[in-house]
Amino acid sequence: MEREVVLSVKDLKTYFFLPHGVLKAVDGISFDVHKGELVGLVGESGCGKSITARSILNIVRSPGRPTGEVWFYRDGEATNLLDLKPDGAEIRRTRGDLVTMVFQEPMNAFSMVHTIGHQIMEGLLLHRKISKEEARAQTIKLLENVGMSNPGQRIDEYPFQLSGGMRQRAMIAMAIATNPHLLICDEPTTALDVSVQAQILSLLKDLQAQYGMAIIFITHDLAVIAQIAERVIVMYLGKIVEEAPVREIFHAPLHPYTLKLMAAVPDVQLGEGDRRRLQTIEGFVPEPIDLPQQCVFFNRCGEAWERCGTSMPDMVEVSPGHFVRCFKYGDHGDGGRAE
């Protein structure tokens, strides 16, 4: 656990100021990411996981506004990205160099009127003092590294000429071009088939080992998380409800939401005769506008106490590295982890 911290998020809040109220998409989350670590961020639609990613890069569109602290560390120097102007020169030195992002749908993330080579080189030319020829040679090497066949030809192709899997590879090549400390992947395999997904996931793992970068992997797919993450953060309604090493999350989940989420997934490993009913979570995720002061999962929990309806539990550390936000665990007098 004595690894160097590359990213430290402190009390990040991203609120959207809408005509009918303040939508609290991300509501006070804190976590660290260490060098070379793969952190999984899990949750259902609307839990705030994508907005968290965008807030870290400070690219949330108006009327959304991130507040709090997002510290990046480079050679002992710390920068708070949220202090910088979201479109200033300074922030651009961090984005694309220290931290990059892989988006869910590569068709929408690429520009359609430029070749993929052009788009990958753009970052290199911006952040590194190299000539166009060098950048092109590096780009071909990158495409080869991400497993593209015939990279010398593919570099001059447009995004629409590539298949979904190849496009995602090009996207990853673009993201790792500057050898960032942190790579944020927002559902990078959700739009892909299982066999392509397997190819992309093992590629990401290889790259992580090769370049030693930290990865924040955002997904709703628990099975994918189980296979690649070291540490898992479970989000619900803009809050972190549980955070633990991957083994503990899967073998000893604590928060009622995590438990229910696990039970709702059909298990491919079950044998014949296990055609049991799936557990469901009653109700649906409420809109995070004007929520009362209570546990975020109160309405759907099923085992809520009176106390859950009147106050929000703190994050408590129940075992080393395992934090949970629920009154069932730990001491909520004063022993909670400060948020």
Binding site: V194, A198, H220, A223, A229, V265, V268, E272, L278
Partner: protein
């Protein structure tokens, strides 16, 4: 209908074949130029043969572009078949080839067979109220007098767990899970015996997916429904189905009971697919390996076995001769030269 060697040869008399698909083909012409000359065909569904017993669920799995959705649509006569037959056993008439149907007979088939679509956001008309959406199959197929329509709609909505107070609302007022319930209510209103569910939960969150899957299983029990369950999500298919078919480039690679398919797959493609599924357990690392390369082009499929360029056990015969579906165990068919005698037949 039992004359074909690949027709179901089940000895158990209690199983009635509801749907028997024989050598079904759906080719889409590729047209070019002003005169729309036909340059070739996309072989979306190519000689697919399988059957479904009454009351069971057959899963159809495959990657994007493998033809599973086209197969579902063609079986329902939503698309005219290019060749082959689809024999559906009507409750009163016995098995009839529905691909030849038109007019009144087709309407009758539509009362027996309905579809649940993938995306509940685009499959419901935003300008129609829930009442009109759910009532539409009844109205079009004129299967009940106008005065009874509203009662049937309310009844159908109750069955899927929707409040009948929502009758006059528009689809935008509902969440994804509720929309999919509307879609199911619409399919059920004509009291069909057979439903094609095309990726019914892939647009939904896992907790909502569980609700819809449970609902579909309850409805099956309650009404004795038969499902053709199309999905790319293998764990969902395994949960829902009794038998599973694996499609690759418009062809059926393997079909069998789910335990056989998931625990002892025969076809190299099925094996690769099984290896690629991530398991929700960090202590059981799935190799995250899969077949190298990408799915071929259905307009110009590889010669012989369509999977041979990606197959690690490819033989000479695989490049030339297209493998036929052969039986390797009871209820288990594989189209691969590794099994049985490599036939001399050539396409």
């Amino acid at each position: 209908m039992m004359s074909d060697p690949k027709a179901p040869t089940s000895s158990k008399n209690d199983k009635e074949v509801l749907l028997n698909v024989q050598k079904l083909r759906k080719y889409f012409p590729i047209e070019k130029g002003f005169l729309k000359r036909i340059m070739g065909y996309v072989r979306a569904v190519d000689d697919v043969t399988f059957h479904i017993y009454r009351g069971e669920t057959v899963g159809l799995v495959g990657e994007t572009g493998c033809g599973k959705t086209t197969c579902g649509l063609t079986v329902l006569c939503g698309l005219p078949a290019t060749a082959g037959r689809v024999d559906f056993t009507f409750r009163d008439k016995g098995p009839l080839d529905v691909t030849q149907f038109g007019g009144e007979m087709l309407k009758q088939y539509r009362r027996e067979a309905q579809m649940i679509f993938q995306d509940p956001y685009s499959s419901l008309n935003p300008r129609m109220t829930v009442r009109d959406i759910v009532a539409e199959p009844l109205v079009i197929n004129r299967s009940c007098p106008g005065s009874e329509v509203e009662d049937r709609v309310i009844q159908s909505m109750k069955v899927v767990g929707l409040d009948s107070r929502y009758l006059r609302r528009y689809p935008h007022a509902f969440s994804g899970g509720q929309r999919q319930r509307i879609s199911i209510a619409r399919a059920l209103i004509v009291s069909p015996s057979f439903l094609v569910a095309d990726e019914p939960t892939s647009a939904l969150d896992v907790s909502i997916q569980a609700q819809i899957l449970n609902l579909m299983m309850d409805l099956q029990e309650q009404f004795g429904l038969t499902y053709l369950f199309i999905s790319h999500n293998l764990s969902v298919v395994k949960h829902m189905s009794r038998r599973v078919g694996i499609m690759y480039l418009g062809r059926l690679a393997e079909i069998g009971e789910k335990t056989a398919i998931f625990e002892a797959p025969r076809h190299p493609y099925t094996q690769a697919l099984m290896r690629a599924i991530p398991k929700p357990d960090p202590d059981q690392p799935s190799g995250l390996q899969s077949a190298p390369g990408e799915i071929g082009n259905p307009a110009n499929p590889p010669s012989g076995c369509a999977f041979h360029p990606r197959c690690d056990r490819c033989m000479d015969v695989c490049r030339q001769v297209r493998p036929e579906l052969i039986q390797v165990a009871e209820e288990h068919f594989v189209a691969c030269h590794l099994y049985g005698e490599p036939g001399p037949r050539q396409d």
